[in-house]
C-alpha cells in the first residue's frame, strides 16, 4: 500500500509493515515519568521507547538519566529528530512495539513531514512557561504550538488529550479551533 504522505510507505499495522510499529505517539514535555512507567508501558506492552528531541539527545546527563529510569527489558533511544525519523522509517521489526515521545508538537510535525505516519497522537503534558497559556487542564501551549497542532490535524492525524489510558480521551480538534 502506497503512503499518503510523502517520502515513505504507509504502515498498515500488519506484520512486516514498512515502518516501525509505533503503538503510542505522545507529546509530553516530561518525557518518561510516572504516567508512562505505571500505565502506558503496561497497556501498550511496548518494548522500546524512542525520544525525539535535538536538545535532549545532545545532553549526555539527560540521556543517561532517561535510560536509567526504565527497566532493562525496555530499550530506550534518545535521538535527534532526523535520526529518529530515519529510525522510524526502517522496516518493522518482529515483535517490536514502540512508544514515541516528543516534548512539543513541533517535533511531531517535523517527524510527520519527514514521512513518518502517525494516525493518532496523544497529548499528555505541556507545562506552563514564558509564552504559553493554559490550553486544557495540565496542558499549556503557545499560539505557535496551537497552530502547529492545527496543521498536524489538517494533515490527517488526530490528536487526543489523555493523561493515562484509564481516562477517556478527548479529541482536541474543537479546542484547537477555539484557540486559534
Amino acid at each position: 500500500m502506497r503512503c499518503r504522505s510523502r517520502g515513505g510507505i504507509m504502515n498498515d499495522g500488519k506484520e512486516g509493515g514498512c515502518m516501525r510499529k509505533v503503538v503510542l505517539a505522545r507529546i509530553d514535555d516530561r518525557l518518561i515519568h510516572g504516567q508512562i512507567m505505571t500505565a502506558w508501558l503496561q497497556t501498550t506492552a511496548a518494548t522500546r521507547i524512542i525520544i525525539a528531541d535535538d536538545k535532549v539527545a545532545s545532553d549526555n546527563f539527560e540521556c543517561r538519566l532517561l535510560k536509567a529510569t526504565v527497566p532493562a527489558d525496555v530499550k530506550v533511544d534518545v535521538l535527534k529528530v532526523d535520526a529518529a525519523a530515519a529510525e522510524l522509517l526502517q522496516p518493522e521489526a518482529q515483535g517490536e512495539r514502540i512508544i514515541l515521545l516528543t516534548k512539543c508538537p513541533e517535533t511531531m510535525e517535523a517527524l510527520i513531514e519527514k514521512g513518518v505516519t502517525l494516525p493518532e497522537i496523544i497529548l499528555g503534558n505541556m507545562g506552563i512557561r514564558q509564552g504559553r497559556e493554559r490550553f486544557n487542564r495540565n496542558v499549556s501551549a503557545s499560539p505557535e504550538e496551537i497552530a502547529t497542532m492545527s496543521r498536524i490535524i489538517e494533515a490527517g492525524s488526530e490528536i487526543y488529550y489523555q493523561m493515562v489510558p484509564k481516562e477517556e480521551r478527548v479529541n482536541i480538534r474543537k479546542l484547537v479551533e477555539k484557540g486559534r
Binding site: I32, H33, G34, T43, L65, A68, N125, G127, E167
Partner: protein, 529 residues
C-alpha cells in the same frame, strides 16, 4: 447516623485528602487508603471491628489503583470513608458494602479535578508574593487558601452524603427483597478480583507470574493469610533477586572537595518537611507542584538571602516554576537545588537556566522511578502485609501498616535529600544507573504476586449453586463435588485471570466491573450463582 457522626465522617474525608500528618501526607498513603479510614470511621460509628473489615475489603478493589502525575481515575478515599460509614449505619453486610463503594469512588474523582482547577486560581497570589519578595508569606498560598478550598470541596458533599445518604440507603434496602441483597453480596464477593487484576497488570510478568499461583495454592490448601505468605515469599524474593552488599553502598560524590556549608541545617530540614507535607497542598493544573516547591524552598531562601530583596525575588521566581514529580524520590531535588542556591549565595555564577534544566531534567525520570517504586509496589505491598488481618477484623492491622509505611517512606526520602544535597546530581544518576531500585521493584513484585494469589483464595468469592440429580436420593453438587474437589477457590482464580485478560486488552476497569455486575445479576436470577 447522628449529626455529629456525619460531621466527623466528613472531616475524615477532608483529612484523607489533606496534607496534614495523618492525612494524605506521604503520597496519599494513610487515611487516604480505605483500610486506614475504615478504622477511623469505625470508631466514629461505634463499631470499630466492622469498620476495619469493610475498609479492608473496599481497599482490595483499589489495591491496584494508581494516580500518577495528576491523573486520578477514581477516588478511593471517598469510597472508603463514605462507603464504610453508610454500610455500618445501614447494617449492610461486608460484601454488599463494596457494591455501594464503587460509584462513590467515581464521584470522588470529580472532587480531585475541581481541586486542581480551583487551585490554578491561586497562582497569581503566589506570583504577588514573589514580586514582593516575601518567602515568609508563601504558606498562605500553599496551605491556608488551598486547604480552605479543599475543605469546602470535601466536607460539604461528604457531610450531605453521610447525613442524608444513610437514611436513604436504609430506606431503600428495607423495601428490597432478599434476592436483591443476594445480588449485592454476590457482586461484592467478585469485585476484589478487579482490584487484584489491576495490580497484577503492573507486577504479573516474567518469572514473577509463577509466584502468583504459588501464593494462591498455599493459601487455598493451607488457609494462610497475607502476612505469613508475605514472610515466606520475602525470603524467596531475596533469594531470587540476588541482592549484594554493594547495591546499598552510597554512590560516590562528584564533588572533589567538601563545600563550605553556609546554609543552616535547620533551614534544610525545614525545607524537606515543607516538601514532604505540603508538596501537593496547592496542586494545580498550571504549575502542578510549583507552588509546593516554592514553599519548600522558602526557608532556604530566607536563610541565604536575608536582607537582599532582589536575590530573594529571583530565587523565589525560579523556585515557583512548573514542577511535578513523586515526592519521596523528589527529595533529592530539594537537596540538590538547596546546594545550588547555597553555592550561588556564596558567589558562584549559576544561571537561572541551570536550575530550570536540572529540575526539568530530573522531575520526569524521578517520577517514573518513584511512582513505580511507591505507588505500584511499596504502598500496596505494605497494605497487603496487613490486609487479611484487617479483613478478619483486627483493629491493630491498619496502625501497623501506617507505622511500617511511614518508617520506610521517610527513611528513603531523608536519605535522598542528603544524597542530593551532599553528593550532587552525578550521585543521583549513579544511584539510578546502579539498578538497585529496579531490583527492589522486582523483589517486591514477586512478593506482591504471591500475596495477591493468597488474596484471591481468601477474599474473592464466587460459587456455583447447580446440583445435578444422580438418583432419587443423591445429587451431584457441582461446586462441592467438582470445583472444590479439584482445588478450593478455582472459580475465583479463573475470575481474576479473566479480569486480568480484559484489563490487559485495554478494557477500562469500570467496564470490567459492569460485566461482573451483569454476571452476578443474571447468575443470581437464574439460580446459577
Amino acid at each position: 447516623m447522628t449529626l455529629i457522626q456525619a460531621v466527623l465522617v466528613a472531616l475524615t474525608y477532608y483529612l484523607a485528602d489533606s496534607p496534614w500528618p495523618a492525612g494524605g501526607l506521604g503520597n496519599y498513603a494513610t487515611v487516604y487508603r480505605p483500610m486506614v479510614s475504615g478504622l477511623i470511621v469505625g470508631i466514629i460509628m461505634g463499631d470499630v471491628r466492622t469498620g476495619v473489615m469493610i475498609g479492608a475489603k473496599i481497599n482490595m478493589i483499589y489495591i491496584g489503583f494508581i494516580s500518577a502525575g495528576g491523573a486520578m481515575p477514581a477516588d478511593m478515599s471517598l469510597a472508603g470513608v463514605l462507603g464504610t460509614a453508610l454500610a455500618i449505619s445501614a447494617h449492610i453486610d461486608v460484601d454488599a458494602a463494596l457494591t455501594l463503594a464503587v460509584p462513590l469512588g467515581l464521584l470522588g474523582s470529580l472532587v480531585w479535578v475541581g481541586h486542581l482547577t480551583l487551585d490554578s486560581l491561586l497562582v497569581p497570589v503566589a506570583d504577588k508574593y514573589i514580586k514582593e519578595g516575601k518567602p515568609e508569606k508563601v504558606w498562605i498560598v500553599n496551605i491556608l487558601l488551598p486547604q480552605l478550598i479543599l475543605f469546602a470541596e470535601t466536607f460539604i458533599p461528604c457531610f450531605f452524603g453521610a447525613y442524608y445518604g444513610s437514611a436513604a440507603v436504609g430506606a431503600v434496602l428495607e423495601k428490597l427483597s432478599g434476592t436483591f441483597l443476594t445480588i449485592l453480596a454476590t457482586i461484592g464477593g467478585m469485585l476484589p478480583a478487579v482490584g487484584i487484576a489491576m495490580m497484577l497488570l503492573s507486577i504479573f510478568k516474567g518469572k514473577a507470574k509463577i509466584y502468583f499461583f504459588l501464593g494462591f495454592l498455599v493459601s487455598a490448601f493451607f488457609g494462610l493469610g497475607s502476612l505469613p505468605i508475605a514472610m515466606i515469599f520475602l525470603c524467596v524474593a531475596l533469594l531470587t533477586c540476588d541482592f549484594k552488599k554493594e547495591d546499598f553502598a552510597a554512590p560516590k560524590s562528584d564533588k572533589d572537595d567538601k563545600p563550605q556549608h553556609i546554609l543552616s541545617k535547620k533551614a534544610l530540614n525545614k525545607a524537606w518537611w515543607n516538601w514532604m507535607y505540603y508538596f501537593q497542598s496547592c496542586y494545580n493544573y498550571e504549575r502542578m507542584q510549583g507552588i509546593g516547591f516554592l514553599h519548600a524552598m522558602s526557608p532556604v531562601i530566607e536563610d541565604l538571602y536575608k536582607g537582599k530583596p532582589e536575590e530573594t525575588k529571583a530565587a523565589m521566581q525560579r523556585s515557583s516554576e512548573f514542577f511535578n514529580t513523586e515526592n519521596a524520590t523528589g527529595s533529592c531535588v530539594i537537596g540538590l537545588v538547596a546546594a545550588m542556591e547555597e553555592q550561588k549565595a556564596g558567589g558562584a555564577d549559576i544561571k537561572d537556566e541551570a536550575f530550570t534544566s536540572i529540575k526539568t531534567g530530573l522531575m520526569g525520570p524521578l517520577a517514573g522511578i518513584g511512582d513505580t517504586l511507591w505507588q505500584t509496589v511499596m504502598i500496596p505491598m505494605c497494605i497487603l502485609l496487613f490486609i487479611s488481618m484487617a479483613a478478619e477484623g483486627n483493629v491493630i492491622a491498619p496502625i501497623l501498616y501506617a507505622v511500617v509505611f511511614y518508617a520506610l517512606y521517610y527513611a528513603f526520602g531523608y536519605w535522598l535529600l542528603k544524597l542530593g544535597y551532599e553528593k550532587g546530581s552525578e550521585a543521583i544518576l549513579t544511584l539510578m544507573e546502579s539498578g538497585v531500585i529496579n531490583k527492589v521493584i522486582t523483589a517486591a513484585g514477586i512478593l506482591g504476586c504471591a500475596v495477591l494469589g493468597s488474596l484471591v483464595a481468601k477474599y474473592v468469592s464466587l460459587s456455583i449453586s447447580i446440583t445435578i440429580k444422580e438418583t432419587a436420593d443423591t445429587a451431584l453438587n457441582l461446586q462441592k463435588d467438582f470445583f472444590d474437589a479439584i482445588c478450593p477457590g478455582l472459580l475465583p482464580l479463573l475470575l481474576t485471570l479473566g479480569c486480568y485478560r480484559l484489563l490487559k486488552k485495554g478494557m477500562k476497569s469500570y467496564t470490567v466491573m459492569l460485566i461482573i455486575i451483569g454476571i452476578a445479576v443474571i447468575g443470581v436470577l437464574c439460580h446459577i450463582l
